[in-house]
């Protein structure tokens, strides 16, 4: 496997790599860190070049890690050369030369320039470009040199080849670098001269005498225009200084790259790395002008202390644009400290907790800067200050801040929505007790948040947190106002329907026609529908053996009653294997309603004393199959009861209901009473034994909520149920007994004891 080998990074961060390695290894894939509970979208007002630097749990926001080592300057290079060549090479070919595998073509064209002899490449290219044009010739000669350096800068290696991994190749022919210097000195054309200047520094960086690069840079720096190439070169110099352990200098240079070359912000932010406090202080002392000092604080703020960075930069240059991205990090960091879970807290307790978790110094700094109106984007500061005031409980001040922002901000979609969202958070936060008056202040926004926004995605807009938060907030309000139904509507509790009174109250609420506006919104977003409740009631009635009631509920389940069983729910096999039953050929498929209707019919028959053995046996099977142990688990699964493959997936009342086989057992016992021969008796005894076995598991494990591991570790491996004893003692001569011996190893073990 080939892997791009970025020697530059390797050289610049060998020390860093070791350290990071140590840390990450020790963390062993730990997953602490920040999560994003955010109402504040950093993209709203901040320039795009900063976006990887927004607060993130990854190294870089949005991109995870830097992936553009080899491609970052491709388009700029093509554009620059295209201008220089005045269109003499079309863009497609130029792209090929500059970014594709063109080195063989270029090397052979250079042979042609040097020896004058045509070759197959000259024939190929002569058709497309004028090889003897001086600009084209200069371009290709330069490109050949650049590609030689590239063989060192873009080395690929086989990561499973030890020699290659530990020994990256470096440029050792210093005389060749001298020839580049000669070309640089002799070139008159400023464009070409600038390119050669950059190439010399790059070549030195990848050489075994990196320090020569610094010497050359110092000698020539003043004559060079401060363009992208200059800052790219400066980043190489910073890397060399780092390797020399001149950390203060290195960090200072990276900060300048960060400041002046937006394309390299990711690189410079990643490379900036003070070792000791004195390095940092020395870097600060290297700055000559305010702008340089502000740049250092701006890059330092990315890793560490945004608040301090903002305060320092603001003192130096209130209009400095780095302030914007630092502010978004500061706000996002503050948001992340808030515990938004509500847990069992009231809104008042929750607001106090939020207020306490926000740093007062942060609020003071942001409001001070917002009030000053001295920044380049005062609306950004007003929005941020308003949001902090909301979190701090000063809702009126927040309103004023948002008003101020809205008056002056650019009216982009994101900006408009961002302010609307924060205003909503502020408005809802004002409410300590819901009443018809204050409800009106949030109704439109609730519909917007819950219904409109999910349908019309706005790129990057962070609104999901407000959705979850507002539901919790409203639920907490309703809880304190003793409105259990509306509390449940906004915050569904799984056990809500285990309380019959609550269940009926919810049914009444969902059925009523004259809902208020907020009730309408709640009913729309509530995940459980009337049909789910009816179905759940039908299931419960079935387990209580109230079949007519169950049928009546099921008929109101809005189609859920038409769900089809995977297997035949009236089967009663020796082995409990629902997969086998599901795959077995089935002439007739049964819906939930069919199932109940047939039960009803059989119960009618037993009441009339018709075919008691068969009817009772099938009723036993039916009630057995809808337990956890049977082939028809689908029957009880649903939005309210829940679903899962083991009983511990279910809450206690549901678990007790679905693991209880006593109803089935009663029918098997009735069937036993009606048996006419030993075969039938053996069958009933075995079925009763299955119920006894299940009961043992219920009492021993499921009702105690033991983990799978504890169950596995239990030494108990054999128990003889009463049904087994009866079988062995009385029916060992039956055919069914032999069938059990053949199919059930467990019973076989017992029988042979």
């Amino acid at each position: 496997m080939k892997k791009a080998f970025l020697k530059k990074l390797l050289i610049a961060f060998s020390a860093l790599t070791l350290l990071v390695y140590g840390t990450i290894y020790a963390c062993s894939d730990g997953d602490w860190g920040w999560s994003f509970d955010s109402n504040f979208t950093p993209e709203t007002f901040v320039d795009k070049s900063y976006s990887p630097l927004f607060l993130s749990t990854d190294v870089f926001y949005g991109i995870g890690y830097d992936t553009e080592h080899l491609t970052r300057f491709n388009s700029e290079n093509i554009k620059d050369w295209s201008t220089y060549l005045e269109g003499k090479i079309d863009e497609k070919d130029l792209t090929f030369f500059l970014t594709d595998s063109s080195s063989t073509d270029v090397a052979d064209l250079v042979v042609y320039y040097k020896k004058g002899k045509s070759n197959k490449w000259t024939d190929k290219w002569n058709k497309k470009i004028k090889l003897n044009d001086s600009k084209i010739k200069d371009f290709l000669l330069f490109l050949n040199d650049a590609q030689i350096v590239e063989t060192y800068s873009t080395q690929k290696y086989d990561s499973w080849n030890y020699d290659e991994t530990v020994k990256p190749e470096v440029l050792s022919d210093l005389n060749w670098i001298k020839t580049l210097e000669k070309k640089y000195n002799e070139t008159k054309d400023p464009f070409l001269k600038n390119r050669y200047w950059f190439l010399i520094i790059k070549a030195n960086f990848y050489s075994d005498q990196q320090i020569n690069g610094v010497t050359f840079f110092n000698q020539t720096e003043k004559t060079v225009p401060k363009n992208t190439l200059y800052y790219r070169a400066l980043a190489y110099i910073a890397g060399i200084e780092y390797k020399q352990k001149h950390f203060a200098k290195s960090n200072f240079l990276y900060s300048q790259v960060f400041d002046k070359c937006p394309t390299m912000r990711v690189v410079s932010a990643y490379c900036f790395h003070p070792q000791e406090e004195k390095d940092w202080q020395q870097s600060l002392s290297m700055t000559k002008i305010k702008e340089e000092k502000a740049a250092l604080w701006a890059i330092q703020g990315y890793y560490n202390d945004e608040e301090k960075a903002i305060a320092e930069i603001y003192k130096l240059q209130p209009k400095n644009q780095h302030l914007d991205y630092l502010l978004t990090r500061l706000i996002n960091n503050q948001e992340n400290k808030i515990d938004q879970s509500f847990k069992d807290k009231t809104v008042l307790e929750n607001k106090k907790r939020t207020k306490d978790s926000i740093h007062k110094s942060t609020i003071n700094l942001v409001t001070k800067i917002a009030e000053s109106d001295k920044t380049a984007k005062p609306y950004l500061w007003n929005v941020a200050a308003g949001y902090l005031e909301t979190l701090n409980g000063n809702f009126k001040q927040a309103d004023k801040d948002f008003d101020k922002a809205e008056n002056i901000m650019p009216k982009t979609t994101l900006a408009i929505n961002q302010v609307r969202l924060l205003r909503f958070v502020n408005n809802l936060s004002k409410i300590d007790q819901l009443n018809p008056e204050n409800e009106k202040t949030i109704l439109a926004d609730l519909s917007w948040l819950y219904s409109e926004l999910p349908k019309n995605a706005i790129e990057n807009f962070r609104y999901e947190n407000a959705t979850a938060w507002s539901k919790n907030y409203l639920a907490a309000l309703y809880r304190s106002q003793k409105n259990t139904v509306m509390a449940e509507i906004f915050n569904h509790e799984s056990g809500f329907y285990d309380n019959e009174k609550q269940l009926l109250a919810m049914k009444a609420f969902l059925s009523k026609a004259n809902k208020t506006e907020i009730e309408k919104i709640g009913a729309t977003i509530y995940e459980i529908k009337l049909a789910d409740i009816n179905y759940f009631q039908g299931v419960k009635a079935t387990f209580q053996n109230k079949i007519p009631e169950a049928i009546a509920f099921m008929k109101q389940a809005d189609g859920l009653e038409k769900t089809v069983f995977y297997g035949n729910p009236f089967l009663g096999n020796i082995k409990d294997c629902h997969d086998c039953d599901h795959q077995a050929p089935q002439k007739k498929k049964y819906t939930m309603l069919d199932f109940l209707t047939i039960i009803q019919k059989m119960q009618d028959n037993t009441a009339k004393q018709v075919d008691l053995y068969n009817n009772n046996l099938l009723l036993g099977n039916a009630f057995y199959n809808i337990t956890h142990f049977g082939n028809g688990r689908l029957f009880y699964e649903g939005n309210i009861a829940g679903e899962g493959s083991t009983p511990d997936f279910f809450r206690d009342p549901i678990r007790d209901m679905i693991t209880n086989c006593s109803l089935a057992k009663t029918y098997y016992e009735k069937a036993f009473m009606a048996t006419k021969n030993n075969e039938q008796k053996a069958k009933c005894q075995y079925m009763i034994a299955k119920c006894e076995r299940n009961d043992f598991y219920n009492k021993k494990y499921y009702s105690l909520n033991l983990s799978t591991w504890d169950i596995q570790d239990d030494q108990i491996n054999f128990i003889a149920w009463q049904g087994f004893k009866n079988l062995k003692a009385n029916y060992s001569k039956t055919k069914y007994y032999q069938e059990i011996i053949n199919e059930c190893g467990y019973f076989k073990t017992y029988a042979r004891k």
């Binding site: 892997k3 894939d29 920040w34 890690y65 020699d163 070792q275 406090e277 591991w709």
Partner: protein
């Protein structure tokens, strides 16, 4: 009569102690460049260390392709002559979690990479150790890998075993290796509480009684490392290796607030890490007494003495926390 019985008991105990051979002292070497400092060399000599367990490389996944690769392979700057070298390969569990992992291919590549390192440095090896914190989800791949690696390498194999893997071995299974090494550290959760995640006797005792039932013979690895947990606003923001408490005590930006806890009073950079005002740094260390306690508990709960006690890890920084001769005293507990 009573005295005679007592004497008899003591004599039996004495003889039985004598019959158990003392374990040898070994070390893990876990840095990426093998370069022994004079102090590290001295430690190896005075403790008559014959075997060194050197981390050769990690196996990790390439972020973009999700293919396994050898991460930070070892480089040698000091000769390894005079020691028997046991290469250790740390395989990240996420490598084994990949359901489509080509186990045989990885075994071949891992073996070949070890061979390349050995031939480059003329190192002859008898044994290879695999270190992987495998889980139930990665168990199948891991066990297959060990099988494949055994065949491919044709060497003696050992594997590190965590405490829970010993207690629940029926569930986690036992890798098919010649012996295990019980990692008697990293027991707890790295957390902001007052407990020590490296070693916690309360946690250890939950597992100790299981040791006797483990079917695989094992040696024991004991910790001599320490680290700091940096905490900001009640959340862990990172683990800091090689934190020198002595230096912190002499640094006015760090104030000792309780045992092994520092509060940062002024933002500053230290060893490449930024400590922000009001951050906290919780140091987790292993004292000599902890090592004795571990040794005694382990002695009591194992039927056979381990052949080796491997200390993790050989580093001048770790060694300076312990008096000379301590390692021998720890071994004497067995």
């Amino acid at each position: 009569m009573k005295k005679i019985i007592l004497f008899g008991v003591i004599l039996t105990l004495f003889i039985s102690c004598q019959q158990q051979e003392k374990p040898a002292i070994s070390f893990y070497y876990w840095k990426t460049i093998f370069r022994l400092s004079p102090k590290e060399k001295n430690c190896l000599i005075t403790n008559q260390v014959k075997r060194l367990y050197i981390r050769y490389f990690d196996v990790d996944l390439i972020e973009q392709t999700q293919m396994p690769y050898p991460r930070t392979p070892i480089r040698f700057e000091t000769s390894t002559a005079n020691f028997e070298i046991i290469p250790v390969v740390y395989i990240k569990n996420k490598v084994m979690l990949d359901k489509k992992l080509n186990v045989l291919d990885l075994a071949q590549k891992t073996n070949s990479f070890i061979q390349q390192i050995n031939s480059k440095k003329n190192i002859a090896i008898q044994e290879i150790q695999i270190d992987c914190d495998w889980t139930l989800a990665s168990k199948d791949n891991y066990l297959h890998f060990i099988e494949a690696f055994k065949k491919v390498s044709k060497k003696k194999l050992s594997a590190t075993i965590r405490l829970h893997q010993i207690k629940y071995f029926k569930k986690t299974k036992i890798p098919n290796v010649d012996r295990g090494v019980l990692m008697y550290y990293n027991m707890g959760k790295i957390a902001t509480d007052s407990l020590n995640s490296i070693y916690d006797r309360n946690i250890a005792t939950r597992y100790l009684s299981s040791l006797k039932n483990y079917p695989l013979p094992f040696d024991i690895a004991l910790p001599i490392y320490s680290w700091g947990i940096q905490i900001r606003d009640g959340k862990i923001i990172g683990l800091r290796n090689k934190i020198d408490a002595h230096n912190l005590k002499n640094n006015s930006s760090f104030v000792l607030t309780k045992n092994n806890w520092f509060t940062i009073t002024r933002s500053n950079f230290q060893d490449g890490i930024f400590y922000k005002e009001n951050d906290q740094l919780k140091l987790e260390t292993i004292a000599a007494n902890d090592l004795f306690e571990m040794a005694n508990d382990l002695k009591e709960n194992t039927t056979q003495n381990p052949k080796e006690i491997i200390f993790y890890d050989l580093d001048e920084f770790n060694l300076k926390n312990y008096e000379e001769g301590l390692f021998k005293k720890v071994i004497d507990c067995f």
